[in-house]
Amino acid sequence: MNREELQSAITALNADITFEEGGEYLTANIPADACRDIMQALHNLPAFEMDYMFCLTCVDWKTHLTMVYHLESRKHAHAVVIKSKLDRENPEIETLSDIWRTAEFLEREVYDLFGVRFIHHSDLRRLLLTDDWEGYPLRKDYEDPINMIKL
């Protein structure tokens, strides 16, 4: 599917989806509580067949967090970016690790560095930081007076 076809097909999945202008990929903003259903559809429906998640990350916008998923279909060679806004004080979203296995480690990384909890994740442990680490280093307000030299 080309970009326009993909956009209208994704719109048909859920009425609350909005799209961003510009950018290399078609970018859809979806509500966090509908995330899992939409992602399941993108993975399973033959028209999309997004079998490859090539990036999963999070962005701290100071007012809120945004989960960012990059999906691609090897069969149809189309790709889409899915974004989902999270509450900064209590960030949680359904896991996608059973749909794309690669999300298992990527979600652990986001959990470790941003503090997002992935509901129903099979093994949500720290990935990079030490066990006794306090705070989430990739959040914009993170402070570490010992190791950080502020510019």
Binding site: T130, P137, Y142, D144, N147, M148, I149, K150, L151
Partner: protein
């Protein structure tokens, strides 16, 4: 003794000519240093992109084995020099320390590139990077660059050889060559 003299000096000592061919008079320390400097086995150690340049320096085009660095060792117990090729993060620091401790004396350290000398691009606003590998282990030679070109690493290795041949202590490793030429 400056860097240039060291490179040109093939073998330490003077030949005293005699009827039957000549006698070499030298100091044992000088001979040992000469031998050590020409057979420095580096440890296989690389933590980021500098390691790519280091591998390039080892391979055919730059070929550091011309200067006696050919046998990169995968165990610190057989290595003489550790080239810190890349960023050292707080989690890696104890590993680096342990590797250094496991190396047999005499041992030498080259800090390759901006990260290993000072933290480089990760100096400000980072929670995880050690601001210079010399916070963890003592460094003999620092190489500038991000990453340094293979020529720069070769120069560092030759500088290390010059230092060993001169029998200098770690504090005396300032580049005297530049002072002399001015």
């Amino acid at each position: 003794m400056d860097v240039k003299d060291n490179q040109q000096q093939a073998f330490p000592g003077d030949v005293h000519p005699t009827a039957s061919g000549g006698i070499l008079v030298s100091k044992l320390d000088d001979v040992i240093n000469w031998a050590r400097s020409n057979s420095l086995w580096p440890l296989v150690f690389g933590t980021s992109c500098c390691a790519i340049e280091m591998m390039s320096t080892a391979s055919a085009k730059y070929d550091w084995s011309r200067f006696g660095f050919e046998v990169a060792r995968a165990t610190p117990r057989q290595a003489d020099v550790i080239i810190i090729a890349g960023t050292i993060v707080n989690k890696m620091a104890p590993v680096l320390k342990r590797l250094y401790d496991q190396m047999a004396d005499p041992k030498y350290v080259i800090a390759m590139g901006a990260c290993a000398t000072s933290g480089g691009p990760f100096f400000y606003n980072t929670y995880s990077v050690v601001k210079g590998a010399d916070h963890v282990i003592p460094v003999d030679v620092y190489v500038a660059g991000c990453p340094p070109r293979p020529e720069a690493l070769l120069h560092a290795l030759i500088t290390l050889q010059a230092k060993i041949k001169a029998g200098d202590k770690r504090e005396k490793i300032v580049i005297e060559k530049f002072v002399d030429s001015n």
